[in-house]
Amino acid sequence: MKRLFTNLFLVALVIAPSALFSQNCRNIVKYCGHAKRDGFLRNGQSLSGAFAQGDTAEITFVVYKDMEYRISLCSPTHDELDGTFEFKIVEQITKPAWKDVITYETETEYDDYGEELEVRTEKKSRRRVYNKVDVVRYDNKKDEDAQEFIFISDKTRKLTIKVFIPLSEGEEEGQGLEAETYACVGLLIEHQPGPTTGFSR
């Protein structure tokens, strides 16, 4: 029994720092570089949180038609991570498609002697189906690891940002469960009315 408590204590010891860390990360986004001089306003959809290094965090947000947005990331607790974030902007879209469906019908027929026979017939039909597919709209790895994404949209849409929180230099994945493997990360979303003609600023 004593060992049980010792083990639970060890588990608590591992979890507690991350919980504490999580609290300290609140509103960390206020330390991320704000592009006020470019006319951007800080957006309430920005987020702060404690994330395990080596993991991927997901945040879904809504962007309005013809507004210009700037997305950037920062980690005031782990400066070495700044400039190394990997992120993708993904949109789930619904794609229509046709699907061949085969159904079987069973009919009762009678043979020459009046005996019941069950006849199974195959029936082919087409059904309209709608598949939800994740489309990657932007991947910073394909943009020289750019750490900000500025965009405008021709429609209001819901997007998901998938952020990979890299390991600090010298750390290896699966190294352990120490609190040091957590980093405070701020996802700053900014907005401003988009240009009415053309897209250059």
Binding site: N7, V62, R127, D154, K155
Partner: protein, 305 residues
């Protein structure tokens, strides 16, 4: 005994592993097939999606929405907003939080249209409510002087910035001080007021920009519920989520019309996201939405929720 200890060790270890893995993993694209009757060609009715408790959901700010609404060509109408005098009706923390959201939205609407008299009045109302809610420390102490100075100089851009920043500061403060349930009520009050304003700025006109913007709130309602879900252990939040259910279900009945293929292009340093489906709102759905929103909003501003 040793065997039992081993069992507990395994349970503890599995708990740790599950706890950590829930922080997020590389996600495999989700695919779901929804069978639809034959001959339905261009529109699709999607089921209400299941909300992912591990996903973070964000809700757009009122300032952002009204910047978009202004572009639809609608005119400012101050008579539809919640009167500042109603503040006397809000004695409970729940009603104060809901109406903080309402008044902030009214401020955002007035700021977007540079309605100076209303801006000052709503800033004053927000100040009183922020004192009542214990969040006045979050706001810039000199904010009211700045507002007055900008009003004198007729600096619309700065006023818009101040209004946006006030919301951001209050939002951040509540988050930082673990007052998520108050924040959830503010966000909901603000969202309902936004819908109320939008549905009272014009009559239904098929395909109009205003109706399109209202229909697009279908995208926001899912995020709003996902955001509130985090705080639903609070009875006040759970109650207002229940009140919102009819509106949420109505939004999910809006059909989506397939559009062009999605593309991402680049113009200078700005990316352009194009294509995708459009949300369609019928006249009947619009009227029903208008009615449901007006009823819920009435309960909020009368302090009866």
């Amino acid at each position: 005994m040793k065997k039992n200890m081993f069992k507990w060790n395994v349970i503890a270890l599995v708990g740790v592993v599950i706890g950590f893995s829930s922080c997020g993993e590389e996600v495999i694209p989700e695919k779901e097939e929804i069978a639809i009757e034959v001959n339905v060609q261009d529109t699709v009715l999607l089921d209400m999606p299941e909300l992912d408790p591990d996903m973070a959901y964000s809700v757009p700010t009122p300032n952002e929405l009204f910047a978009v609404i202004k572009e639809t060509g609608v005119l400012y109408d101050g008579t539809i907003l919640n009167a500042p005098e109603n503040i006397e009706k809000y004695s409970s923390k729940k009603n104060q939080a809901l109406n903080f959201g309402v008044y902030f939205t009214d401020l955002a609407f007035a700021s977007s249209f540079s309605e100076n008299a209303s801006i000052l009045s709503y800033f004053g109302t927000i100040k009183i409510l922020s004192d009542d809610l214990g969040i006045s420390n979050a706001l810039d102490a000199a904010i009211y002087e700045k507002v007055e100075a900008n009003l004198e100089n007729d600096d619309a851009d700065s006023l818009l910035f101040l209004s946006n920043d006030t919301y951001f500061q209050a939002y951040s403060y509540l988050e930082e001080n673990e007052r998520g349930s108050t924040l959830a009520l503010i966000v909901l009050g603000g969202w309902i007021e936004s819908l109320y304003i939008m549905t009272n700025l014009g009559e239904y006109e098929e395909g109009s920009n205003l109706i399109a913007r209202i229909g697009e709130q279908k995208l926001t309602v899912g995020n709003l519920m996902g955001f509130m879900m985090k705080y639903q252990d609070d009875s006040n939040v759970a109650e207002v989520m229940e009140e919102l259910a009819d509106i949420e279900e109505l939004f999910w009945s809006f059909e989506e019309e397939e559009g062009d293929d999605v593309t991402t292009s680049q113009e200078g340093d700005v990316y352009v996201l194009s294509g995708g489906s459009t949300i369609i709102v019928s006249a009947e759905q619009y009227e029903e939405l208008k009615e449901l929103v007006a009823a819920l909003r009435k309960d909020i501003i009368e302090g009866e929720l």
